[in-house]
């Protein structure tokens, strides 16, 4: 796919999600990166981030639901989440290497482990914060646990879960950059190389690129989260 087409599609997609402002931002940002000859690296980073985020959501949302519904699970594993978030991100690179070797797979794995806690936490939080009267109402009308989850708890927790998605994506991005040390491609590698070669200019360009990608992803997911909020409430 030629870059101009990809950029157009991305701009249209983000405009549809977040409105014209976000669309224009995406358009300008990506065109700028193309112009800096960082297009290839940007795409690699985006792919890694999006893949890792999707995997983190697939793992994190069910686990979050489990934590919300089982007090014991929450109490047992909450410290594990704390540890996952406080452990320096570099540490995740080490165990990934013997299993998957140098390269994108190891990077992806480390990224998933690093970025999954927020979505677990916020899914659990969102479900627990559904007003008890609403849960009671759904019980009173004879909902099964599954009906209650899908008709009441998850829809009402959605804004919080989307905030978790946003957090997870941001963490994934920061990890993907660090994961360049174990051979992940993309903008991270550009930064890593310029550190090794002491090329301040190239490093700065790649850094700006990461910022642009971060802003675009953040705005788009925040717009998604805003859409998930119930109508009218702020």
């Amino acid at each position: 796919m030629p870059p101009w087409l990809a950029i157009a599609v991305a701009a249209l997609a983000t405009a549809k999600i977040g409105g014209r402002k976000v669309g224009l931002l995406t358009l300008a940002g990506l065109l700028f990166l193309w112009n800096l000859r960082l297009w290839q690296a940007t795409v690699e980073t985006l792919v890694l981030v999006i893949l890792a985020t999707l995997a983190a959501l697939v793992i994190g949302i069910p686990v979050g639901i489990w934590f919300a519904l089982s007090r014991r699970a929450w109490r047992t594993f909450s410290p594990v989440l704390d540890m996952m978030q406080t452990l320096p991100s570099f540490v995740y690179l080490i165990p990934a290497l013997p299993f998957f070797g140098l390269g994108a797979v190891s990077a992806c794995f480390a990224t998933i482990v690093f970025s999954v806690p927020p979505v677990i936490r916020l899914t659990a939080l969102g479900i627990r914060n559904v007003p008890s009267e609403l849960v009671e109402a759904s019980d009173a009308f004879g909902s099964s646990a599954t009906q209650k989850l899908f008709k009441v708890q998850l829809p009402l927790a959605l804004p919080t879960i989307m905030a978790g998605v946003n957090q997870t994506m941001m963490l994934a991005l920061s990890m993907v950059v660090i994961a360049a040390m174990i051979g992940a491609g993309g903008l991270g590698r550009a930064v890593w190389q310029s550190i090794q070669r002491l090329e301040a200019g190239a490093g700065f360009e790649a850094g700006i690129g990461i910022v642009i990608v971060a802003v675009i992803l953040d705005r788009a997911t925040q717009a998604l989260a805003a859409r998930a909020r119930p109508h009218g409430s702020a």
Binding site: P131, E133, L134, E136, A137, S138, D139, A140, F141, G142, S143, S144, Q147, K151, V152, P155, L156, L158, P230, H231, G232, S233
Partner: protein
Amino acid sequence: MGRITLENVSKIFGSNHAEAVDLISRGKRKAEVAEACGAVVGLCDISFDVREGEILILMGLSGSGKSTLLRCMNRLVEPTVGRILVDDVDVTRLGRKELLAFRQKTFGMVFQHFALLPNRTILSNVGFGLEIKNVPVKQRTDAAMQAIELVGLKGWESKYPHELSGGMQQRAGLARALAADADILLMDEAFSALDPLIRRDMQAELRELQRKLKKTIVFVSHDLDEAVALGGRIVLMKDGEVVQIGQPEEVVARPATEYVRRFVEHIDLAAVMRAEQVADRAAIVLSPTDTVAEARLRTAAGGSDGWLVADQDGRFVGRVRAERLANARVGDTVSGLLDLDPGVVSAGTRLDAVLGQVADGGAVAVVAEDGRLIGPITSRDIVRALAARPNAHHDHSPTQTKPAGAERWTGTSQNSPSTRSATTPSTGSPNMAVG
């Protein structure tokens, strides 16, 4: 459908369930159980019936266990011991799946803070119960629309809850409970979050709906005026126990304990009392065949601007005004002197509904369902009734300063046949039934 029977229901919070249950079965109460084994008694050995088609009001201050009791009925709260029968089903023995199906089929619930789902339209909220039952969309929408029309929300069905006022949201809450077509409505402080004017409207509308739908309603409230307005039996609770059960006028007239007396102290008597309780049963009643001379003789004591007339079967015939009797020829009979449109009210009419008529037209006749005359209500009778506080005038000798009949409301001991009325224990007696 919709009869609920509670048998020895208790709910213990905290530990030591077995010991607490044992203590309760030996007649210990909340405070004693707490002292003996540290368990908190939520409900203590409660037994009563909810009749089919009635509005039963569970009343008490906060913490008295009324909401817990309501939730025991559909097992949102598990009773620790006791049986709860709905029709012939023992709710306490249902398995998980059966319980869900039973809730879907039998109970509709209305909540204090409405509990509408903010992410759904009113239509979708109202159809929620049916959605849970897996009713097809088309049918669900039809039933939901019907319920929406019933509560007067037509035109608002595509709005979201936050776009509606509190009163309208609670209408939607009510519609949701009605749409599921359950026999029993459980209403938990349903109108307490509404402002007073809206609350009164909703109470009137609930009564109106109830007249049409004939559901069995259990209504939790802490507001005695609300109980009176809804006009059902009251179950008064304190510390997880039932203190008294009865029609509002019974509870007001014969409080079982000091607690109940204080609870009903500030009630609007005019809203509680019925015309038959106020009617002067000892008043002179003329017969249509009396001659004017006889009538003058019987009414010689005077003191009234008119007299009621009833035939030999006690049926109400009409009213004769004092001035007409005075001006009539001696040989005429009373039947020729009757007023054309005497004020008549039925025995069960609330006193506050009679006030206007008495103010406009003087004495009003209170007539039983079978047409029998009970007696007149004059402004004097009303003042007397409202001035009297139950149990407040025990030391007072009513016959000294008041004409016969005045003791009806104040006294509790005069149970002679002629004055048998409000103060007579009347649980279950048909003429006390509230319409």
